[in-house]
């Protein structure tokens, strides 16, 4: 047991305790948490910084506004409903279309039909705080549903694949692509059964995937090879995630982005407590990279310079 711990330590694998005590508590000041925990605020800050985000159709803050839902989405055929303070992808509803016959029935990304009343109940739950991190009242966001880039069409089962970049003190340290599966119900969270694939920071090429902590070569639903895919707009993605540091003020940050077929990379959300599974997806510990960033850290570097440094310093090992 101790020998495994020592090996993991040598491999630079970061554990939860160390992440919480040494990075999150030290580098992420509490007062900045609302910037990333409240997705409405995140969106505002990102827009102010000139970053691209999915368009916001409407926010439902109070129980009485729930009935406005139909008006908000009247012009939309596809949209996403999510809690402003949700975590881990809980409470997100992806609506991809409407029933041809009945306009008040919606089709979810999983193919399931849901009535307007059911969606309103879901929004009530969100507003009531069921998915909120702190358990108190929350807001429901209704926003643009990303038409994702065809790059990952082969390796996704419904839902929207996204790109997670861990940014340490403004320097991108590690990245992965999260691919929804049938098991994850179209959601891009690894603990819900999505496939994670590490990304070579130097090139933006995907590495082999990981499913439930196990290495996989191909997608469990589509059978397509996960590795060797070139992520489009990679430079832009790295630089945008590096700028997430200035926007959020958090030194240990997870930036989630999606690539829209028409609009290019968009910032979905940011995370003050990004998970550690990214290490498994990259088959590499993140602690060594963090140490390297501390060595090359330059407070005056621009986001573009920091992104370039990450490309230079962190090519994939294999």
């Amino acid at each position: 047991m101790i020998s495994i711990a020592r090996k993991l330590h040598e491999a630079g694998v970061l554990g939860l305790n160390e992440r919480n005590a040494d990075y999150i508590m030290r580098l992420n000041p509490r007062r900045f948490y609302p910037r990333v925990d409240d997705k409405v605020l995140t969106k505002k800050l990102a827009i102010a910084a000139g970053m691209a985000v999915p368009e916001l159709y409407g926010v439902i803050e109070h129980q009485v506004e729930v009935k406005n839902f139909a008006n908000i989405v009247a012009q939309q055929t596809s949209f996403v409903v999510k809690p402003a303070e949700g975590s881990g992808g809980d409470g997100i509803l992806v609506v991809t279309g409407r029933s041809e016959r009945k306009r008040d029935t919606f089709r979810l990304s999983s193919g399931v039909l849901m009535s307007e009343g059911e969606i309103q109940h879901h929004i009530s739950n969100i507003v009531g705080g069921q998915y909120s991190l702190s358990g108190h009242r929350d807001k429901a966001l209704i926003e643009y549903c990303v038409h994702f880039d065809p790059t990952f069409a082969e390796v996704s089962y419904q839902g929207v694949p996204d790109i997670r970049v861990i940014v340490y003190r403004g320097y991108p340290a590690m990245a992965m692509v999260r691919l929804p599966t049938r098991a994850s119900d179209g959601k891009a969270n690894l603990h819900q059964g999505a496939v994670g694939a590490g990304v070579n920071l130097a090139t933006g090429m995907t590495l082999a995937g990981v499913l439930e902590n196990k290495l996989v070569e191909d997608h469990p639903d589509t059978g397509a090879i996960v590795s060797g895919l070139q992520i489009p707009h990679w430079d832009f993605i790295l630089e945008t995630s590096a700028r997430g540091y200035e926007v959020s003020g958090l030194g240990y940050l997870g930036v989630d982005m999606v690539i829209d077929a028409d609009l290019g990379p968009l910032i979905l959300e940011m995370n003050a407590r990004p998970g550690l599974n990214i290490q498994i997806a990259n088959r590499e510990g993140i602690a060594n990279r963090i140490r390297r960033i501390e060595e090359i850290y330059d407070a005056a570097a621009t986001p573009a310079e920091r992104a370039a440094a990450a490309r230079r310093e962190f090519p994939a090992k294999a």
């Binding site: 059964g193 498994i280 590499e284």
Partner: protein, 507 residues
């Protein structure tokens, strides 16, 4: 930086906790194990006399300094008498006074003592005794004896032994016979030895007392010799000359003065009775620290009302449960619902006992979860839904109690002791996880919670630990220190070794 503060703080807390603990344990004698009993002896002196016509003043010598024993309490039974314990020339005196009394009178003095090896002589070093004035030819005989003993000895102790050996010689020489001509009892003998030693400028005194036995009526006083060697008092058997003290010897009084002195009374008799009892060690420690005027007893939980005590004996185990939580969560990495839910469940287990506790908990959560899923279809708002689940949980508890009572299973009744709000929240949380992450995750976390609750129950139920924490609440400072240290533990959790094992497999 934080690291250093945490270490300093933890060290400080541990030091304070340990210091108070050791003081209470070693000095005040609080027992570290439960039901520790200490033998105590109650010695009763019954003084009886025929009263004269006038006022009466009865003086009984009572224990002052008792090496090897500590006094627990003392009292007097004497109807119609004024009572006090003033200091006399050779120690304390129990004094009874009355203006008039009729017929035969009996007054009692009672003292309870227990063994405490730490009680040493608290006497100061006595001055060299003055040369006694002894008439001739006795003086010459004493001088010869002392010279003889001095030649054959190296120090005070051996000189004393030598004198005693000469005096106890079965075929005494003329000098010894002369010295002992006035001696007719053991106390006089020891007094004579004391005078001989005084002429050799050695401080000594007569000690009167008795070896404590289990139960004795009419215990006889034994006279012993106490000699100061310039450093400490030493005890000598006046008959054999050996340096020793009888086993469990309680010193009653010292010096040549008589045990009892009654003015205005006649036909005086003193009878001693000894009774051994066993007392809870805690009670003794309590009394003792109260005697010292120490504040330790003021903060002792034993000074609280009994009902409050029983509440605290449970409450004080909660930190232990929280500590187990820390270990399970941050060191092992067990997935569980709610930070302290398992600790509260463990508290309920204390009443229901483990087997029934697990069964009832599982039953309650399963039934509650089923009904929660049914409620889900009604699309209730969050707070009303939580309240509905709470009401259902209460009704389920009632149902389980009634059913098991009908079936003759009395253990089912204890289901009422489960913290229903916590259970309702657990059910709600579990159903959300169930929906969001799937049944596997929900059940894993549910079983994890139960596992942590069982672990917490096992530790919180340890009788010796409960006694230890209750008697020495300052030990919680040490628990706090360990929890603080755990708060800065940045190593891997046990489950992470499994989770990340892919990362080191091929290396």
């Amino acid at each position: 930086m934080e690291q250093r503060y945490v270490f300093v703080l933890a060290a400080l807390l541990t030091a304070i906790g340990m210091a108070v603990f050791f003081y209470k344990w070693q000095v005040l004698g609080f027992p570290v194990t439960e039901n520790q009993e200490t033998p105590v002896w109650t010695v009763e002196a019954a003084v009886s006399f025929d009263s004269g016509p006038g006022s009466i003043r009865a003086q009984l010598r009572i224990p002052t300094l008792t090496p090897g024993f500590r006094m627990l309490n003392e009292n007097s039974v004497s109807r119609g008498y004024g009572y006090g314990t003033p200091f006399g020339d050779d120690g304390r005196i129990a004094e009874w006074t009355t203006r008039r009394a009729d017929g035969r009178q009996t007054v009692y003095y009672r003292v309870t003592v227990y063994e405490d090896k730490k009680v040493d002589e608290s006497d100061t070093t006595p001055p060299f005794p003055p040369m006694p004035v002894i008439r001739e030819p006795m003086n010459t005989a004493v001088q010869v004896l002392v010279e003889y003993a001095r030649e054959r000895s190296a120090d005070t102790a051996s000189l004393t032994s030598e004198v005693l050996r000469r005096l106890n010689d079965p075929s005494p020489d003329a000098n010894v016979e002369l010295i002992l001509s006035d001696v007719d009892n053991a106390a006089d003998f020891v007094a004579a030895v004391s005078e001989i030693l005084a002429s050799a400028r050695i401080p000594s005194r007569v000690v009167h007392g008795f070896p404590l036995s289990e139960r004795q009526r009419g215990a006889n006083l034994v006279s012993w010799l106490e000699v100061h060697d310039g450093d400490r008092w030493r005890y000598f058997n006046p008959v054999t000359g050996e340096e020793s003290l009888p086993k469990q010897f309680l010193v009653w009084w010292r010096g040549n003065a008589p045990l009892i002195n009654v003015e205005g009374g006649s036909n005086v008799q003193v009878a001693f009775a000894i009774q051994e009892n066993h007392l809870d060690a805690v009670a003794i420690a309590e009394t003792q620290s109260a005697h010292r005027g120490g504040s330790a007893v003021d903060f002792s939980l034993y000074s609280l009302p009994i009902r409050t005590q029983s509440v605290y004996s449970v409450l004080l185990m909660i930190p232990i449960g929280a500590f187990i939580m820390v270990i399970m969560r941050n060191m092992i990495g067990v997935d569980a619902f709610g930070t302290f839910m398992p600790v509260l469940i463990a508290l309920a287990f204390r009443e229901t006992k483990l087997f029934w506790g697990v069964i009832l908990f599982t039953l309650l959560v399963t039934l509650g979860l089923t009904i929660r899923f049914l409620l889900d279809r009604l699309r209730l708002l969050l707070v009303p839904r939580l309240s509905a689940v709470l009401i259902v949980v209460v009704m389920l508890m009632l149902f389980i109690s009634m059913t098991s009572h009908r079936m003759g299973l009395e253990m089912g009744l204890s289901v009422a002791l489960f913290p229903m709000v916590i259970i309702a929240m657990t059910i709600e949380r579990m159903s959300v996880v169930w929906e969001e992450r799937g049944a596997a995750d929900a059940i894993r976390a549910g079983v994890g919670s139960l596992f942590v609750a069982i672990a917490a129950y096992v530790f919180m139920g340890m009788k010796w630990l409960e006694h230890l924490i209750f008697t020495f609440p300052e030990l919680l400072l040490i628990v706090l220190a360990v929890v603080l240290l755990a708060g800065r533990y940045t190593g891997y959790r046990l489950t992470e070794l499994r989770r990340f094992r892919e990362l080191v497999k091929d290396k």
